[in-house]
Every structure is written in C-alpha cells, then in structure tokens.
Symmetry: C2
Subunit: 342 residues, 2 copies
C-alpha cells in the first residue's frame, strides 16, 4: 500500500518531506532521491536507514552525487522507473528546468506534486499541459501549505464564482511591516528578519516581491486566467535590480527607504487603515505590492509571519471566506499529546 515516490530536490523542503515520511512508517516508499549533483535510486524502495543516512549527508552540505549515482546515471534510472511502474514525482527543487521531466511523468501516468513554483509560472501553455491531466497537485506552492488551492478548486468545481482574491502570502514581508508598525526602521527590520532566518540567504529575493508575484500568478491561473508572469504588476520593497549587489551594500541602500516606509505606514494609520504587502487577483488585474486595508479586515489581523487568504466569491461575499495560519513550517510543540492521529 506504500506510495512510491521519486523526490527531486533534497533541500529544506525535500528533507522535511522525507522526515515526515519516515515518521509515518511505511506509507511512503522513496524509489529515488535526487539533487543537482546526482542521486540515490532503488526500485524496491530506499530502506529507512539509508534514507536517514542521505538526510544527514545532505545536512552536512554534501551533494548526493558523492554518495550515489551521478546526475546522468540517476536521471536514466528514474526514467526507467517512470516506464516500469506508477507513483508520484515530487518536485521540491527551485529549478526552472523540471517542466519537461514533469510532463513526461504525467504522460506515463504518474502523479506530480510540486513544492516548486517555477514550473507553474512559465508560459501559460506549460501550465495548461501540466494541469490538464488532473494528476498534478501544488498546494504547497501558495500559502505555506494552508489549504488554499484545495478550497479554491473545490469552490470552482461546485459552481461558485470568484470575484476577488487578496492574500498575505509572504510571512517575511508580513513580519517586516509589523516591525515597522512597531516603530523599527525598515532596514533594521530586514536585518532582524535575516537574523531570525525568515529571509532567503540574500534578502533581495524576498524584498523584490517576485516570489509573491509567482504565488499571485498561480492563484490567477487556478481561476483559469491565462496570464503570464510579466502581466503581474509588482511593487518591490527594494531598489530595482539589486542584482549581484553584496548583502551589506544592499542593506545600506535599504536605509534610503526607512523614512518613506515609516511615512506610508503612518499615512495609512491616519486613515484608520494598515499597510500590508498583498497579492490581489481581481477584475482589475493581478498585482502585488503595498496596499492599505481597513483595520477590521482579516488582512489587517496578520501579525508577524502569518499567511492570510481572503476569498470573495458569489457564496462568500459580505463575509468572505478566510484561511489563515503560519507563514512557514514550525517545529512540533513540546508537551502536547494529540487527541487524534492517523
């Protein structure tokens, strides 16, 4: 009964999945684990002990090519697996280059699960082909694992119509704005977020708004809108094209934004509103940036690294449907025993 899985990517997300699978016992059987250097393939399932070895190997910063097959060998072995059986391919990479392989897997009858947003934000035609089979799942790409895509798809499948989606989809940017509201200069809040591990290694990755734009595009496309990424209007929270600017220099340029950010937060406050970095999909288009929201809005409630998604639909309009929760994975809490478990 174990689900055969081929895992691409063995970074934070891939390893978390492998650990979750190990904790579930034998519900998931990994046939292959690959990173960009190579991989380990075992058509009868990588034994739990070997999988744990792989995880600690990766945690030391090693590439899988050093303990298993080279990239070419691993890919060839995986292609053989695709032809011979059925299972699920998980893309936990951050690569743009997996689309072709994922389409091949779907064609062979495999399921595909994405944590990787990139395959979904390329040309619309790729998106269409990926989703056409009905065997693609991508809940993890938007809303940090909150059930956003599932709820959206269920509403659409049962005849509801969506008027607008607004969301706080970056826990990092939510944290930053919350700190600025508390009186901390913006550039200092960025340093704080870095210290807490809330940002990508280079914070420009978060501040550019590009990752939120990808999520907004995925929401829009889920509604059936044939948009391209360039059509999503993005307001970055950093100077344009930080490019390869060294981090320290980048952080210094952010100081130029401190006064402006403070002013915008205060201006919103004077109108009884709060400033939030939102993704919005509406009849006016899809956009990402700083927006003022009413104090009473569910979007105003987010403090720190929360994600909040507000769906306004034919069924949920006067009081929209709101889904909220953490902006990223959290460690299991100590000292609590579950009242249910499966």
């Amino acid at each position: 009964m174990a689900i055969p899985v081929v895992l691409f990517g063995c970074g934070t997300v891939g390893r978390a999945l492998a650990r979750e699978a190990l904790s579930l016992g034998d519900e998931i059987r990994f046939l292959a684990v690959l990173d960009s250097s190579g991989g380990v393939v075992d058509p009868s399932g990588i034994p739990a002990g070997r999988l744990r070895e792989i995880l600690s190997f990766k945690e030391k910063g090693e590439g899988l090519g050093a303990t298993g097959l080279t990239w070419e060998e691993a890919l060839e072995a995986v292609c053989a697996l695709l032809r011979e059986g059925r299972g699920v391919v998980v893309d936990a990479t951050a690569s743009e280059g997996t689309v072709g392989f994922l389409l091949e897997a779907l064609e062979q009858g495999w399921g595909v699960v994405l944590a990787n947003k990139r395959p979904l934000v390329g040309p619309w035609e790729d998106y269409r082909r990926l989703t056409a089979s009905g065997r693609l799942r991508y809940e993890a790409t938007v809303g940090a694992g909150l059930p956003v895509i599932a709820v959206l798809r269920s509403l659409l499948a049962t005849g509801d119509a969506v008027y607008r989606i607004r969301g706080i989809l970056s826990g990092t940017l939510g944290f930053l704005l919350h700190r600025v509201e508390e009186g901390i200069p913006f550039s200092q809040a960025v340093r704080e977020a870095m210290a807490r591990g809330y940002t990508e290694p280079h914070p420009a990755e978060d501040l550019s708004g590009k990752d939120v734009a990808r999520k907004a595009l995925i929401l829009a496309r889920t509604l059936g809108l044939p948009l391209e990424l360039r059509e999503v209007a993005v307001e970055p929270l950093c100077p344009p094209d930080p490019g390869e600017m060294p981090i320290e220099e980048f952080l210094k340029t952010l100081r130029l934004m401190d006064a402006g950010m403070r002013r915008r937060v205060e201006l919103a406050g004077k109108k009884g509103k709060v400033l939030r970095y939102l993704a919005e999909v509406s009849p006016e288009g899809t956009r990402v940036g700083l927006m003022q929201v009413e104090w009473e809005s569910p979007l105003a409630r987010a403090r720190g690294p929360e994600n909040v998604v507000v769906l306004e639909t034919r069924r949920f309009r006067e009081w929209p449907l709101v889904i909220s929760g953490p902006g990223g994975p959290r460690a299991p809490p100590p000292g609590f025993s579950p009242i249910s478990s499966n």
Copy 2:
C-alpha cells in the same frame, strides 16, 4: 453526466440546493423531492419547469403530498430508484428518522450528502456505519458550509495529529454576544436577532446550545473519538427546559440573565479578554459554552454572525490553522462580475 439526486427535505436548505442546481444548468438531475407530507418522483429527472413549480408551491407553505405522491407512495418509488440506479441522496431534513434509509442508500452504492446533523449525533454505532462506506459527505453540518470537515479530513489523511479544535459555530450566538459587548441587554439582543431572522422560530432552540453541541460532537467524531451526545458538556444561554414555554414568556425570563451576562462580558474585558460562545474539542473533553478568549485570538475577531474554526495540530500549532466566514448563506452581491466561473 448529470448527477442523479434524491432530495429529502424541501425547507430553506433543500430549496436553496434546488435553486443552486437550476442555476448550474443540467449538472444535477433531481429524480425525487420529498417532504414529510409526500413527494414528487420522476425516474427520468424532474424537468426544470416542474421543479420551479414545486419550489414556489413549497414557498406558499404547502406540503408536497398535495401536488405529488403521498409519503408512502413517494418512499416506495424512491426505494425502487435506489435498487435500479446510482446517485446521491441528500438529507436536508431536520429529522432523526432518516438513518435507516440513509444506511440502505449507502448499502445500495449511493452517495449520501447531509445538511441534517441528526443522523450523525445518534448512537456512535450509527455514525460508524454511516461513515464506513466513505461515500458520506457532511460538510454542511458544521461551520455553515465553510470547508471545515474537508480540511480536517485532509489533515488526518495526510498524517497530521490534532491537539485541539475551538470554534464559533453559531452565527446567532456570536451576534448576541457582540451586541452585549456593545452595551445592549442580552434579552433585547435576542429580540433583535429574532427580528433579523437570525434565530430559529423559537429562540430557545439556539440559546440552549444544543445545536452547537451537535456540531461539536460531529467534529469530535470526525477525529475518531467515540463520544455520545450526552458526553458533550453544554452551557445553555437560557433557563433549563424552556420546553413548550410560549415565546413571549420565554423572552421575559431572559431578562433575569441580563445583569449576569453584562457582568461576565465586563469581567472578561477587565482581563483583556473577550467572551465567546465556543465549541471545544480537546484532550480534556468536548464542551460547548461561554469561554474567555485572548483579545488577539482569531476567535476574538468574530463580529456578528461569523463562524470561525481554529485547528491546533502538530503542523499548525504556534500559529493555528484558521478558517472563517459567514455564519449562514448570504444573497449574491449586486454589481460584481466574477473573474472566474465554472
């Protein structure tokens, strides 16, 4: 491709379903519509015109026995349908007497969809048998149609473990408490809720907390807890056993509660908390009643007739998973065009 449906109950919920189905075109085909007086049965599908006739007939307060078959005839015809084909039975009654029929339908391979809570809150063994087939859906019984059961089941199915569920599951009681917070005497708030159509015809039905207790039990049972309704601790918001007390007399007795309710709201306020009528499923048991919640809690945010469900699980603990939305169906808004529809 139309889904064949047998509809039991043609009150507010049943009629709303029929209207929704009519608006979807031919996705749903009603083979039978029954109320407690009789019904209309057409194995080839009740034509849209006839269905509209039935709805306006019901809206005049008439029983279906007067326009169609008697109850016995209708039931016999429906039992023949069960044997001959496949489809979905919808229980939109408020009856305790449908369990036997629903089990029969499941046994014959039909799906069953419940808006009616009663079949799920009888003996645990009934619940177990109803859910055993995997062909029972009951999203509409808890959380006013918010995706609570679906999300809960998906978390459990993917290996999460639940620590605690807390929810505001009565829009009516939420509205009352909100009005008391605003300074309105409790008994007067009840009259106001009645005037707005937020309560059942006799408000004791809402104030007794019994309906919330049923919802709490359904949540607990969904977690696999083999509880009975009598094991759910319930704090009513009215004198015990209002029984057949006439409404005006009942409303007068509520005045005796005004001072106490005011005091409890104020006491909570002094501690920086707010008073909410909650359903709670936790390792300490399942209970329903007035509880103090922190001002920052998602449960404190509910204003008026909202439903809010907070799931604390292994995956969602420090920041719980929150689902919120309206406490009941709302009319479609004017002047908005959807950006998607199916």
